[in-house]
Symmetry: C2
Subunit: 149 residues, 2 copies
């Protein structure tokens, strides 16, 4: 297969964002510099990714204190790599259509769970590539804007 | 399917370590606390994972300065999550059988490349699970020791 065009990559990223259940979530502990990586279910809606995890988990603590995250989605030879900013939103304060859709897609509803929070990631930069022949042109979002209108 | 036993999980981890080409590599910048996540090819041999990447890339810098890493392997509903320690080894100083096997498996030989280094990860803790029914018992290595002899 020849390398995908920007439009094809962008369409495929949207498909992965729509259909994939989980993402690799990479965070860092600002005190120790230790990296953290966890697979978490996400919802893609309204231009953001929504996560739910325990506020006291390493990922939750890091997400809450640093506000930055990197996410990996999909097979590692079909890479979607996302850099974004993140804000913690209390369980009761996320828009209902988002929390309902998250629960339906992820297969668990965090809202009754003590110590959980939603984390809303706004993607800033997205790269997509399959093999080395796709390394050129792998950026599909820059500065929060999709490169293909 | 019922949850896999420890022995089955451990066997499957070995299969993934043997057969998978790439892993998600999560590191952190100790100065800024920014997380980094990159898919990199690896070789599993002699009880360690071997990577090669540019020393000046964010992942390379972080690996070299912090000495800790987290790696994700496989589909995110078939999780292998690895915590380990890492050391940088100059291209010419890695044992030849490891550098040759890395080049053959990864499909690229970093040894002629300026600015690259090998990074050798020793796993300390490995978790493996597929779905929530496998969260119990997901640790297959602790303190560098496989739990199933």
């Amino acid at each position: 297969m020849s390398p995908r065009s920007l439009a094809e990559r962008q369409r495929d990223v949207h498909i992965r964002l729509r259909d994939d259940i989980d993402a690799w979530v990479a965070t860092a502990d600002p005190a120790t510099g230790n990296p953290n990586l966890s697979p978490l279910s996400f919802l893609w809606s309204d231009g953001v990714l929504v996560f739910a995890t325990a506020e006291t988990s390493p990922t939750g603590r890091n997400l809450a204190t640093t506000g930055v995250v990197r996410l990996g989605i999909g097979l590692v030879r079909d890479v979607v790599l996302i850099e974004g900013t993140v804000v913690a939103i209390p369980l009761s304060e996320l828009a209902t259509h988002l929390s309902e859709a998250f629960a339906a897609k992820a297969g668990f509803d965090p809202r009754p769970l003590d110590g959980f929070s939603f984390f809303v990631v706004t993607p800033v930069r997205i790269q997509a590539w399959r093999d080395v022949d796709e390394l050129d042109g792998r950026v599909v979002m820059r500065g929060g804007a999709w490169l293909e209108a």
